[in-house]
Symmetry: C2
Subunit: 233 residues, 2 copies
């Protein structure tokens, strides 16, 4: 039997690259996305498109209500910050942080992996261009893996669950270069925290700024569809 | 400000006892339950009753779809085992195990704790009468705590999150005795894996058998409402 991997797929640039890496490494991929009360649906539309284009074995979109707890600009009516420079982005944890989000996402991935008989979970966290999220750090991923090995039937029976975070030490430019080599079409992906109704990116939130700089540094054309008034090229 | 704690409240005997312990320890309690596609709603009705009786500050019931992944008798159409002896119960992980359930529950508790500014999460896991669940072991709880301290804003800023599992080393009889001292009315709680439509317990699943034995060993009257045909006293 081919090895199976659960891949967390947000519809963004990073997770699309991770799906391609998992496939390159010989895994049958099972994509997992969440409808968690994001303020925009462009992200889930992108996740569906990426899942189809990559030919994943299955794609589940699990509804979870992170709005029940509040506490983030991505799920509440808190303004998304715009046009911050790198120093501002690095200063503390931003309002776009969603409490315990990656922990919740990885926990669901763990449940699905267990049912699939899979010992491999892929996540596109990145500790360099990470905008200050605590749950994107390598020490966090290692601790989740240690916990996960104790949490499951498979762990008790001796299987060694692995959390793969292949982007953790890469710059955005390196991620884009690698994904391009692996055939990722970034036109399908959405990174913007604040897209308009048609899904066009704002070009000014932290995520847009990091993405634009990544394409520029990689020396590759940016296929992102920006809003007409965004001032992006 | 009074200390706040998030208490995972299933509606069962153990978590009702844990809520009483958290209150005894001086915490304002925020009860968290899940509607996860259980085959019966008696459990959630019991959780609501316990939350009211204990006078918790808030009670949230979060819908999560564990049926999306399958793999358990508690969420699928797999038969619940009946009348197993202690040796059979101890033999491996039973079909009532829900993949990664405690990991998912604790992850949501972590999100709420972060929003509440709480550093304390209470869970009623038990490693003695635990029916073979890997995610009820103390080493699992310790590993989750280590991960959680790295996962959150509060952890980054120096707060020390704690996962309290005060029942982990107690027998069912000891839990019942302690809860009785703390004023828990176990008539409000439901333990059965397979109750009938009116919420009466089957008396024969692992959970009923452990509960009945617990009351007997504690020398206390069992207030559980059993099905007329169950053969229970």
């Amino acid at each position: 039997m081919t090895k199976r991997a659960v891949v967390l797929l947000s519809g963004g640039l990073d997770s699309a690259t991770v799906a391609a890496i998992a496939q390159r490494d010989g895994f049958d991929t099972y994509a997992l996305s969440f409808d968690y009360g994001q303020r925009h649906s462009a992200e889930l539309d992108a996740a569906r498109a990426v899942a189809v284009v990559r030919g994943v074995q299955d794609h589940k979109i699990v509804p979870i209500d992170l709005r029940a707890f509040g506490g983030s600009a991505l799920t509440d009516d808190i303004a998304v910050p715009k046009d911050r420079d790198v120093v501002e982005m690095s200063d503390g944890i931003p309002v776009t942080y969603v409490p315990a989000r990656n922990t919740i996402f990885l926990s669901f991935a763990l449940a699905w992996a267990e049912v699939l008989g899979s010992s491999d979970i892929f996540i596109g966290v990145n500790a360099l261009d990470y905008s200050g999220y605590p749950d994107c750090r390598p020490e966090y991923i290692d601790a989740f893996q240690t916990m996960a090995r104790l949490a499951t039937k498979a762990g008790v029976e001796g299987a060694t669950l692995r959390i793969h975070a292949p982007l953790v030490a890469l710059t955005k430019a390196e991620i884009i270069s690698l994904g391009t080599v692996l055939g990722v079409d970034y036109a399908h992906t959405v990174s913007c925290y604040d897209p308009n109704a048609s899904g066009a990116a704002c070009a000014h939130c932290d995520s847009c700024l990091l993405r634009r700089r990544g394409f520029a540094e990689a020396g590759l054309a940016d296929p992102t569809r920006y809003q007409a008034t965004s001032g992006a090229a």
